[in-house]
Subunit: 358 residues, 2 copies
């Protein structure tokens, strides 16, 4: 009896040590993520799911991410605040949505006449991009990471052709953000209309033009049925979404799970660029087939020149009197210049060659 | 005495259970990787190190990859055989190096007049690319994964200008592989010269032209000092390196480490494309500054047309009588056509717009 009870006490004691060691080694974390998008939003929403799946598999279930879409948290543009407050551990959104709150967040999504996705990732990861972005988010107890790229967004759907700056005067167009401000400078009246009402607004001439994303996401809204002209892009050449992580959440993760989270976000971001290429190509083939009469147009040089000037003016104003903004703008301008000189003799030269040959 | 010895026996028994459970959960793997490159080879060699670091950190040291460069294993072009035989668990090389051994490996690095990096990744990951590649490597007990992209390779350094197909007749050029065969079809004499002797060969007119990679890697070899013309690319628009994994090695890894390995390779590959963009832009700025007289040229349309025809002819020959080769060529052609139609209205239109504006 005595021996038995001592024995079972010993087993119990050792088991407890065992269990607690295991618990430490295998502590599990469930992070809550709020995304700006509705449930099953294509491409953007797949980026968060892709990230969460990689993190869960690589951690053998020790790192789970529970995603709430906007139908759950009801605050699509409250992601910054909710992650900052620790209401959510993570967010998936776009940095430029917070420019009214923290002006310098503007620069980390995409800028008119700015870098392409490949150039911009190079700026983030091998130039100063990540450090500058962290400097902006640091005071808010947040970490920000690239969250997936749409590629070059199209210039939008127009019901009439644009042949000059004159044709833009008073033109009512759905185009939000900084690009809307640039368009306003050259005479356009940017309007804000809920996505669900855009088709009807364009059909009834409440608006004359609408900018959305690119073929893959535009196709579902049906603009190709009522607009004759699809203009090429200039205003968001590399729209990068954003993962936000609350700093306290980050710090409580062990080093291996931090790395798993970092790499899952990084890979999901790259994957989204590649998926966008795929889905856009597929959707564009469908649109072309169903609407052979649709014309793809570039704005005339006069229009581009006017928008470019307006953009430079607004950028200068945005940077004025803000030391950090000035450094960001200078870094982006310098990087773009150097990067584009190479892109011009590689990507651009090759694509132009191929267009000639076939 | 008796009680003590029973107790310590019990502790021992439980500890053994504990230790073996821990060992199972924490079993460590060290994989040996052979790379084609020499030690500290820039960009290519950094891709393997980047991959190994991610895997080790994410697995908390449970998955280590020991890299042997060509100075160790002495068989830069033996990587396929060594990984197939299980002499190494993994390899880092380029798929087209094995075309003499397994002809259909040719298609998974880059093809003349083929897809750009963004298009090709989309084909691999969202089209049929990965499946077709696996079909080729499966009989060799190997798994193959994208291993990093150089971006568009430049057309090469020429000492005299090429104005017509006539100028290519008898031209001695270092250009290996399938592209060399295409060039041979239009009159060039492709020659194979060891990298260390290329500079002298070009300087002494033993060869008239040399193709290497792009600004970042070309800069170190010094061709800019002795060639007046740098031609834009057509023959390797998206050179993708390759990770090889022996199937038995893969199968002995637990699921979480398989996923960690898969994602480390995927991210290292993407990262290399982005690093290439960065390093090429930097090197190109240096070359331009030091050699303002250097001329960047596109081959005249006549030359491109001739090379394009030669390429189509050789592709047809390569696919003839091989069912799998025919499927690969058809898949790439179809994907390229669809993808490029979109790239033309997005990336190409944007880059051309920007070139006009500034």
């Amino acid at each position: 009896m005595k021996i038995r009870s001592v024995l079972s006490a010993a087993v119990l004691a050792v088991s407890t040590v065992f269990a607690s060691t295991q618990a430490l080694a295998q502590e599990k974390f469930t992070l809550r993520l709020a995304e700006t998008w509705g449930p099953n939003f294509p491409i953007f929403g797949e980026a968060t799911k892709n990230m969460a799946e990689m993190a869960e598999k690589m951690s053998d279930g020790r790192l789970r991410i529970r995603i709430d879409s906007s139908n759950k948290h009801k605050a699509p543009f409250g992601v910054f605040d909710m992650v900052k407050a620790g209401q959510y551990d993570m967010g998936h959104s776009a940095s430029y949505y917070w420019k009214g709150k923290v002006p310098n967040t503007l620069f980390f999504t995409s800028m008119p006449f700015g870098m392409t996705a490949q150039e911009q990732y190079a700026w983030f990861y091998y130039g100063d991009g990540m450090e500058l972005m962290q400097e902006v988010y640091e005071p808010h107890n947040l970490m920000s990471f690239p969250g997936g790229n749409t590629g070059i967004q199209m210039g939008g759907w127009f019901r009439k052709e644009i042949n000059s700056v004159d044709d833009l005067q008073g033109l009512k167009m759905r185009i939000p953000g900084f690009a809307g401000e640039v368009f306003a400078e050259v005479g356009v009246s940017p309007t804000n209309i809920a996505p669900g009402e855009l088709y009807t607004a364009l059909e009834r001439n409440t608006i004359d033009a609408v900018e959305w994303v690119g073929p893959a996401l535009d196709l579902r809204l049906g603009f190709q049925q009522i607009a004759d002209y699809y203009y090429t892009g200039w205003h968001e050449p590399a729209t990068e979404l954003q993962f936000l992580v609350n700093k306290k959440t980050w710090e409580k993760l062990p080093a291996d799970l931090q790395e798993i989270l970092r790499i899952s976000m990084r890979t999901a971001a790259y994957d989204m660029l590649i998926q966008s290429q795929h889905e856009n190509a597929k959707a564009w083939a469908t649109i072309k087939e169903e609407h052979p009469e649709l014309q793809v147009k570039q704005f005339p040089e006069e229009v581009f020149e006017a928008m470019y000037k307006a953009n430079q003016k607004l950028l200068k104003e945005a940077a004025e009197g803000d030391e950090l903004a000035s450094r960001i703008v200078a870094s982006q301008e310098e990087y773009l210049e150097k990067s584009r000189a190479y892109t011009d003799i590689s990507e651009r030269a090759y694509l132009n060659t191929m267009a000639e040959v076939e």
